[in-house]
Amino acid sequence: MTTPAKGRTTLRRVRRSLIGLALVAPMLAAISIHAQSGPANRFLMDRDQVVALARTINDRLPYIPGEVLIKFRPGYGSSQQARALSVVRGGVQSSQMQWVGDVLRLRAPAEDNPELLAAVLFRQPEIEWAQPNYLSRFKSIPNDPLYTRQWNLDQINMPVAWEISGSRSSSVTVAVIDTGVTVANGFEVFPLWNGSRIASFAIPFQQNPDIAAARFGVSRDFVFWTGPVLDMVGHGTHVAGTILQETNNAYGLAGIAPYARLMPLKACFGYWEMQIVMSNAGVPGFVDPNESGGCPTSAVVAAIRFAADNGAKVINLSLGGPGVSPAYLEALQYAVQRGAFVSIAMGNSYEQGNPTEYPAAYAPQIQGAMSVGAVNRSRRRAYYSSTGGHIEIAAPGGDVRDGGASGLVYQAGLFDPDFNPFTVIVPRFDRYYDSPLQGTSMAAPHVAGLAALLYAQGITSPAAIEAAIKRFAIDLGAQGFDPEYGYGLIDARAALRGMGAAK
């Protein structure tokens, strides 16, 4: 099996797409006279939540104001739980509560600072822990391409790994908890602020043409609406592409586990989702386009549990943030106990003070969850990749400072100019191109893809998958474990070959 070379074809496709954009734009404007979203689907955020989220984005807060996640100690009934919640200023109505497994998501609009509220709640004897509902950020940094090249797959010895694995990975489901991977084709009618008023627009969506529809499994949106999962950022699409994009099909780019099944779980939102839910709630105006959105802890935790309960054997989390989050820890433990391996991005903030990020920081505590740092094409730590004693493994993440555009990670992604908030009033999400990104977001799916191959090969325990990835890693940096590379760079071929008697 070889890695397909596809650059020129893709560039031609992109040029055609640009021409198409000019032709289609007037049509979109005409469609905008239709003013209703689908009757069967509803948005998952009410006006109060939308306003709180808009504040989170525009004020760059690490949490959603007025929201906390609470876990009660075992053995306390509803009356005792209600007593504990009586300390919340303004009281608590049932409409303010939502259960995510055994974790309560509480909205307390009267208490603006969730860190203060969590501290007060934590002092109640009935409560095991309480934390703000943080907004994790997805961990990629977009950049523009000059040409495409998947150096990243050669770096981890994928060509031989594909030969070893064959089509075995068809038995494995990988959950991508991210901005979503579009599962529907056609138009969705959404309300949008067009600069002067809120109107409805028919927005086109298209599945990634380089992932066969038959490979999509169960999907679920935990953050935006009850309709089909839609990616309006491109991050989830890129991440999923690294894991399982079609390979050796003479089209597009290659993925690591090209037969695995995809479970797209949307727990993150971006600019356009915010615009839509704001408009749906009757809130005019634009959110800050520089803030690309985020992933509420409540949604991520719900998605992790959903993935584990619905047969996912591998979960990818290309997201994180600096807030300590017991909710993340317990969700990860839950998933691993149910047989799912979890790959988690370390974070991209090395040059911003290198803060410890969660959920990556929990990975060393859990055999079966791994925190993943990024290396560039020269096998050195990417400039942005966070370091620390909690890093476990490294994988290609791209680095524009090492080879320019050719040093980035290319996968099928949504065509950026179609939804650039600085230039577009009405976006479209139906065109794909070879999207270059860098980040530990891009490194984590390499590990997730390898985990899927290892599971299919016969290593069916998350802890054993972690052990195999570590054992066969290529040691980088200081000898043995070190805080820049963990146990080293993943080696897919070596991990899949496993052990003989002597070697």
Binding site: V160, I164, A464, G498, G500, A501, A502
Partner: protein, 209 residues
């Protein structure tokens, strides 16, 4: 291993005490053998091969009566074994479905003393063994496979029964103590097994004087 060496010593003393006719004429014979080797690295071979012993064939030659019952013996045997690569973690074994093949070929050179009780000819001896160990598997790249030779100690004991003028049949036990190929990687490292040798039992047919 110490017990095996002690047993050989005791056997030699008993046989020498009971020996009826130490003086034997000079003679040479060739032999073929068929028998089973039980590898000392039991967990390693059980894991990758699903068994700890394997049958194989061998052949060799012997010169007897060099000085009394003194003989020299040179022989080679071979086992070819098939298994699969695995991953071992926390005591759990995960078969990976990647075929592998092990070829185990000891070349033995020994000297010893043969006793004579009419048609029954017991013997004990010791010497050196050179074990050629080759391990190959699918999807290997240069350096992945193993092809090494290691030298170790050999003890042997057996008994021949003369069934015709130039034909003897018998049984033989050989113990090979070899280290150096196993124990530094793969499954053998996980289990801490570095012994490449083992115990071999074989039936022998010798032709010659």
């Amino acid at each position: 291993m110490t017990r095996i060496f002690s047993a050989f010593g005791v056997a030699a003393i008993v046989l020498m005490a009971a020996n009826e006719s130490a003086a034997q004429g000079l003679g040479a014979s060739a032999y073929v053998s068929y028998g089973s080797t039980r590898f000392e690295a039991t967990e390693t071979f059980e894991t990758v091969l699903g068994k700890t012993s394997h049958v194989g064939v061998g052949f060799g030659g012997r010169v007897d009566g060099l000085w009394g019952g003194l003989f020299v013996d040179a022989g080679v045997s071979q086992q070819s074994l098939e298994g699969q690569r695995v991953f071992v973690s926390d005591g759990s074994v995960f078969p990976l479905g990647i075929p592998m093949e092990i070829t185990y070929r000891p070349i033995d050179i020994a000297a010893g003393w043969r006793f004579a009780f009419n048609r029954v000819l017991p013997y004990v001896g010791g010497g050196a063994t050179i074990v050629a160990y080759r391990e190959t598997s699918d999807f290997a790249q240069p350096g992945d496979d193993t092809d090494e030779r290691k030298t170790g100690a050999l003890l042997l004991a057996g008994v021949d029964v003369a069934v015709a003028r130039f034909v003897r049949v018998g049984g033989e036990f050989r113990y090979r103590a070899v280290t150096g190929v196993l124990g530094t990687g793969g499954v053998s490292e996980v289990f801490g097994e570095d012994a490449l040798g083992g115990r071999a039992f074989a039936l022998r047919v010798s032709v010659g004087r």
